[in-house]
Amino acid sequence: MSKVYIIGAGIHPFGRTDERSGRDQGVFAARQALEDANLEWQDIQFASGGSIAAGNADVMINDLGLTSVPFINVFNGCATGGSALSTAQNAIASGHCDLAMAVGFDKHPRGAFNANPSSFGLPDWYGQTGMMLTTQFFALKLQRYMQLHGISREALGRVAEKAFRNGERADHAWRRTPMDIDTILDSPMINHPLSKFMFCAPAEGGVALILASEKKVRELGSNAVGIASVAIRSRPPGSFEVYAPSTDIVDGGKPTTLASKAAFEMAGIGPEDIDIAQLQDTESGAEIMHMAENGFCKDGEQEQWLAEGRTEIDGALPINTDGGCIACGEPIGATGLRQVYENVTQLRGRAGSRQVNGNLKTAYSHVYGAPGLSGVAILEV
């Protein structure tokens, strides 16, 4: 497989944009990414993309231009962005084309997600009795994790506090007002131990990336970031996952651990080689648990890491440098690509007041979602 590069990145600000559909936010991001790469839509030879709640991505050709480009629609839950990236990467790596676009966008109604049980192969009573909520899953996983590994509720507050602090410095973030830890800890309880400001909220946004072959990068003289690996894994047996009326007594591992290991193996590096990371932070406990599941620390070490500020922008391993889902909100189809966008921006040294100092070489991103799947992408310069 030949190496693939990202040469353009575009984003539509996350949050709420009432006057623009989800797909239009995707088109906005696509045009920005093309401009960034100094290309025209007519140059793109392959596209893949999707949304969960805002329609088919290929309809974007009505706005971008009817160039007969092959456009693969992706509908893959929280891994939609990662799968779009992986599909576009493979199209280039296989030699099928030299320039491709990956796009993800979404637009969700306000309030918690409400899934239809039958879409997930579950009986109606599971939804009727009020047990099919993503917020509950994260609280239940976290409650046990905190007791087993000695994580305090204060640590949850620290993660959210960092998210809002970083979000203030990110143009594309939604919640850009810093919040003190007591306000976070004392905000209305959603699912104990998680209160309102520890959660991300369903939102809107769009992200597009332009990918190129090595040959094309040389030809164009692009400001390119290399894709070291992309890995997507669904759940193994015995993993405790969202939307589970039951789980096995024997813990069988997690999709995040599998995706992370595969991505590191493909990239030929380990967690200690990563300079910055964007980790799925559906709520602050998820960021804490995902720090360990992705191999960056041992279970329980997060308490000290957070107390010492090791995951801050000026820390040893900055995590969620744009405020993550907590500050940006969660448009499911766009989140995975937002993380990659942020990593590209950081690696190119274009992150302005949130720029991580030092000579950044590697960046890691991780998404997780229903019904138990994870996507990891590692970038390098």
Partner: protein, 130 residues
Amino acid sequence: MTKHLQPIAEGLWSDDEQPHLLGGQAPDGKIYFPIPEGDSGKNLDIIKLSRQGTLWSFTRQDFRPKSPYDGPEEFTPFLLGYVELPGQIIVESHIVETTLEELKIGMAMEFVITPFDDTRSTYAFRPEQQ
């Protein structure tokens, strides 16, 4: 007190004096809950799951969920969690007759049928009564 109520779903628990949740057991011994619908449920033996277990995790639902939640319009926060049934499986369940403050991971729990609304019952676990 729940006898006049209609179970929220058929075949979810047994119709005994002392009801049990019903699971499906594959020839290799693996237990499923709930019993899968369709082809994947066909080769399973229906078994009664244990009425006793230990609390695996818990939380409280503090806001009224959107549809498909079908509980009373006037919402009261409810407890829920996972209960480990020894040697069988860990099941998700409502938790009743206790408070958030009293719950501790590892505590002994027992199965109970509980009212869901004015006309229907559902299953739950409660702290084991001495």
